[in-house]
Symmetry: C2
Subunit: 726 residues, 2 copies
């Protein structure tokens, strides 16, 4: 019975990939519009793909080096499972593939969206949204495919002393493909984030502020780089990020389930299958939700938003219902309680998204107040934006806190005692799976944003009828709201996933002991050791100065990482500004539109900056947990992860919301409030928007991956850490 049910997982994966292909295929049949439109789309596409190739080369080198290191750990020192290097590589490969497919689709879709919009808003929405769905479905499809494949392979090959033991080894090994996914995701987010914001900030400062020409104006030399950036940062980066959260949460839950029910193979299998099946159900229901997104012609912004929400809410509600069914069919005794854990996660995701919307949409007070503070200049606007961003962390953090306690409580009958710990952690972990189960459709609403944005860019550059730009602006505004929601969602899920990974780390320590043939005092069989025993062995409590030092350093790393990426954007943007100024100065006739600017030199600046600047922060994220593991041992590592998680989670929300609010404060002024375009207030809001660019699109989102990657690195390195700190 269980083995049959498993095949639902690859089937769901194939369904997802089929619909991704279908939507891609249909989109490609649409016309790309005029010759100019095609040409511009071609420029952007080539730039984006060229960049991605460059990036993958760098990432490839990192992967080769790390794989060799894992080979050494596994075959040389014998402190890791022999499958780890291969699992690591597939995680990276599928993550990169998902990013590539999503981005390629986006670059084909933007001109087609612009062209369709000239017919009707609805036609444009459909193309943009379904193309976004290609990304969403590719991510979940490839994720489940990788999970299914490894499950089948390892089930066939791994034979430990007992069946129960085999399941633990299989699931913890699979977890390590998450590190491959995280590593590639970090480079994608950091590199893409630097690329896109260097171009965007540079284009805005010279174009909007100094020359007073509109966004995406073809006279602006940085405009192609800006559009390329939207694709490599907001599409490929976002896809890789969520691919990683998605797989990470499922894999961590599997590993925690195998361990919580250790000794009882039947219960283990159920606990392992539950997250996979919930994910599989989520995929199918996401496809259903995607089809539910449609509007009548002549729909306004509100109806469009309603139609997107309808799709997401439909999927989410159905998933909630089916979750009960999954746990019931699997025969869990506490089926409805575990289902409530999942629903706690789902609801938390919704609340975090709504909170992000409240704090960043200019339909609400916070952003309006920020906009109003532009009356006294850019300084007060920045102060208020930072203030609001910091305040906006309260709701998501309390929500996640309550969700953790509820998910744990439901899974354990609200017994917060040591003997219930592993069941409670399983509950938290499955809540993360719940939050991410709607990913197929939420990622679609997310990727749709940059497609609409690029469609507007294409319309502007191709000198289409202004009505087209107006309509793409409507789509774009919608995209800004869904992007804020999506970011909240990405952060919330990263936090829950990181918590699940934290628990998995403790499990991995046990595996480390096992590889070394060692055990801890008072425990005969290390495989049967409980989490509290490991915690006690290493004094992982808050009075241990090693743990406290770890927490300090972890929290600091989140800030350091942010500072490095922020400065990277600052430096690259300065170069971009200099280049754009140079072109306006030296190439005669650009501003009159008589002479084409040199787009490629700007693309080159962004590419080079992204390549150079992504290396150090990324390596820092990988090196820090290794070094702390070597010097401070497991207690220091857990401290590090918790510190980075708490600070990173909160910083990420702050940065995303401040950035989003500034962006929309600018839009609020542009809609005619406070003097409208070209007023002093407008100038002040442009400064705010520019400051917010790296906040919301570089540093903030990169933190999601930082916290997961550090956990993943620790997990993979657990064997080495244990060897040095028995």
């Amino acid at each position: 019975m269980l083995d049959y049910l498993f095949y639902l997982v690859p089937v769901a994966s194939i369904i997802a990939l089929f619909f991704a292909w279908l939507f891609y295929h249909r989109m490609m049949k649409e016309s790309e519009g005029t010759v100019t439109m095609k040409e511009i789309a071609q420029y952007v596409r080539e730039g984006a793909i060229a960049y991605l190739k460059q990036q993958y080369k760098v990432v490839g080198i990192v992967f080769i080096v790390l794989s060799l290191f894992f080979v050494f750990l596994a075959y040389g020192l014998g402190v890791q499972n022999p499958w780890v290097p291969f699992a690591f590589l597939t995680g990276g490969f599928f993550s990169a593939l998902a990013g590539y497919i999503g981005m390629r689709t986006a670059t084909y879709a933007s001109a087609r969206t612009a062209n369709a919009v000239s017919r009707s808003l609805n036609a444009g929405l459909k193309i943009a949204f379904r193309s976004g769905a290609v990304m969403g479905l590719t991510v979940v499809g490839l994720g489940l495919l990788d999970i299914s494949l490894w499950w089948l392979i390892l089930r066939a090959f791994v034979q430990e002393a007992t069946e129960s033991q085999s399941l633990v080894v299989i699931t913890t090994t699979m977890l390590t493909f998450g590190m491959g996914a995280s590593t590639q995701a970090l480079f994608a987010r950091v590199g893409g984030g630097i690329y896109t914001k260097a171009a965007d900030v540079g284009a805005d400062i010279v174009g909007k502020v100094e020359q007073d020409i509109p966004e995406d104006d073809p006279r602006n030399p940085a405009t192609i780089a800006d559009n390329v950036g939207d694709n490599v940062g907001d599409v490929a980066g976002m896809g890789a990020d969520l691919y990683e959260s998605y797989c990470g949460s499922i894999l961590a839950t599997m590993a925690l389930g195998a361990s919580a029910y250790f000794g009882n193979v039947d219960a283990q299998m159920k606990a392992i299958f539950a997250p996979m099946l919930i994910a599989a159900v989520g995929v199918v229901l996401s496809v259903l939700g995607i089809f539910a997104v449609r509007t009548k012609d002549g729909a306004g912004l509100k109806q469009l938003l309603g139609s997107l929400s309808l799709g997401t809410n439909l999927s989410a509600s159905l998933i909630a219902v089916f979750t009960f069914l999954v746990f019931y069919l699997l025969g869990f005794e506490n089926w409805w309680q575990l289902s409530l854990s999942v629903i706690a996660g789902l609801l938390a995701g919704v609340i975090i998204g709504k909170s992000a919307e409240y704090y960043t949409s200019h339909s609400y007070k916070p952003t309006q107040k920020i906009a109003e503070s532009s009356k006294t200049g850019p300084a007060t606007l920045i102060i208020r934006g930072i203030g609001v961003g910091m305040i906006s962390t309260a709701i998501p953090v309390v929500t996640v806190g309550v969700a953790i306690l509820l998910a744990y409580g439901f899974a354990t009958g609200f017994r917060f005692s040591a003997d219930q710990l592993s069941y409670g952690l399983y509950g938290i972990s499955i809540a993360a799976v719940g939050m991410l189960s709607t990913l197929g459709i939420t990622l679609a609403t997310d990727s749709y944003g940059p497609i609409a944005d690029n469609a507007g860019g294409n319309a502007q550059m191709s000198n289409l009828d202004p009505i087209v730009r107006e309509r793409t602006d409507v789509l774009d505004a919608l995209g800004n709201t869904t992007a804020a929601t999506g970011k909240g969602f990405a952060i919330g899920s990263a936090a829950l996933t990181a918590l699940a990974l934290l628990a998995s780390y403790i499990e991995e320590i046990k595996i480390g002991f096992k590889h070394l043939g060692e055990t801890i005092e008072g425990v005969a069989d290390i495989s049967a050791a409980t989490i509290p025993q490991i915690v006690a062995h290493y004094d992982i409590n808050l009075m241990n100065p090693i743990v406290l030092t770890g927490i300090f350093i972890g929290a600091m790393l989140a800030f350091l990482f942010c500072g490095l990426t922020m400065n990277a954007v600052g430096r690259a943007a300065q170069k971009m500004v200099m280049e754009v100024r140079r072109q306006f100065r030296e190439i005669a006739g650009i501003l009159e539109g008589k002479q084409r600017p040199d787009y490629t030199s700007c693309v080159r600046i962004s590419t080079k900056a992204a390549q150079q600047e992504m290396i150090f922060p990324s390596l820092l994220a990988i090196a820090a947990p290794i070094l702390i593991g070597i010097f401070l041992g497991p207690a220091g590592v857990v401290g590090l992860l918790v510190g980075a998680l708490a600070a990173g989670f909160i910083l990420a929300i702050f940065l995303a919301n401040s950035g989003g609010a500034w962006d929309n404060a600018k839009k609020y002024v542009e809609e005619g409030h406070l003097g409208g375009k070209h007023s002093e207030c407008h100038k002040a809001t442009i400064v705010g928007d520019t400051v917010g660019d790296p906040f919301k699109d570089t540093s903030g989102p990169s933190l999601n991956i930082l916290i997961k990657l550090m956990s993943m690195v620790s997990i993979v390195m657990a064997g080495l850490t244990v060897m040095l700190h028995l």
Copy 2:
């Protein structure tokens, strides 16, 4: 022998207060200059004292309410010591007194400094610095006085079952006067911070940016409010803050010492006296250092800085030497190891200060790079400033981490095991005492800054010879550097003190059990329970979801608190800008200097804003640990404190350094780089400086107190928490 040695503490206190009086007296004998100078000084003084009176009224109400609550806890529920309400009140009273004396001195000193500077730079430095020393010596003097008095009173009245038990009760009771000090300090920092920055930001935006008139120009209606603000925020606020750290670190060390050596009265007494004696020695050596600060006439900035450093370094080095003597004389077996713990703290303070100097002084690359980014406008300047500020957290955090491990390690012979925990925590705590032992002189260098700043303001407003303003500018620039160092020092000491308080919280839980006549499983006498036993009883480990939720919420509170204070400044500054603009518009002849602006209306705006806006954030800081204690119990509280400590510490460094760097980037441009005054770069750096104002002078410094106050509140509430979560 020991009882004799104790009297060194009140003697040191009296020495400190004597020299404070002497410096004050000598300063008062100097001439205050011309009639205009006197008049302006009078305005500023009256404004400052009027504000402080207002503030103390509000704080008084809070104190009455809280005292009644403590009376209820102590006499109604019986979960607190009967002395607590009184200890609480004296802490608040002495903290307020220290702030008042320091501020009063500063307001008398500024015109006298300006007047002396017209004779020579050296004369001015001497008056400003010695007046700053009044604050430094008053803080340490009153601190040691309060500690001595309570020690004598409680020794006379507290009689527990055993002598050893009495010592534990005495020291933990004394700890609660720290809560009085923290509560008053928080209001002083938050209220003062909002006051000063509302005025400063408002004055700068209209004065410097819009009307292009210099800083402190008498034509600017907000200029008096700005000068008042320097006194209430930078002097009174800073004094209250460090009074609290100073007492907190000594008291926490005493409590930890009494507990670590429980059962051995002789060892307990030694451990209790050590921090008091080190502090006493520090006071005397600080006075020595203060006398060592003197320069030749015609000294440049470098020599001035050298002369200040000489004083501080002399005190610090001598304290290091005498520490060995203190521990040796007390007869500690591990006397030199404990001395090394103290030195670890001392050195960490120096490194953190140097790091702050590096990141904020425009003699170094980071600030110069920030200044250069103004070439591409305010947006890139802000991005770079935030980036650098975040990066600048790395050195202090690693330093504190290493200091913690070293202080713990020296005290325990580097045995990081559970049975060594209480000795190790004592080591960390005594390191905090070491860091703060130089407070008498470091606070002098710190308070000197606003005095020099106000002297410059007075010179400008009194239309003195430009040479005077030039010289006060030199003193002011020196003050900026020492202020950055001082802030780093305040933050570092707050972090170490909070760590010590965290350990004291666990001790206080035991007292809570004792009051209730309860004990924990497996422990016959709760007084003899060890910290690891309490930790195990409440599962205060990092896998407990309650602890994790506490950490999340604690870290979030640091951000929320920052956001609230930041917004408060933003709002108040906007009102100030509106008022200043109104005066320029409606009162004819202000700009021509023919008509005096309405200074009082601006003073009123700052006062009202500070009064209103300080309430909510401050109550939040008090309420949060109480609520978490009630709902999540001790595990949640410890999580909360650690989360707030880690995030607050790092945020505080980030904010202080970003703000300082922007300030000095502006000064760098004003010195003639990048186009100098009135250039586009200068305008951009003014935006940066304005954004940085609430960073470095409101939100950042308030965090120091937030983390200590939350610990103090938790300690005082421990009895109630235990009652609800046995």
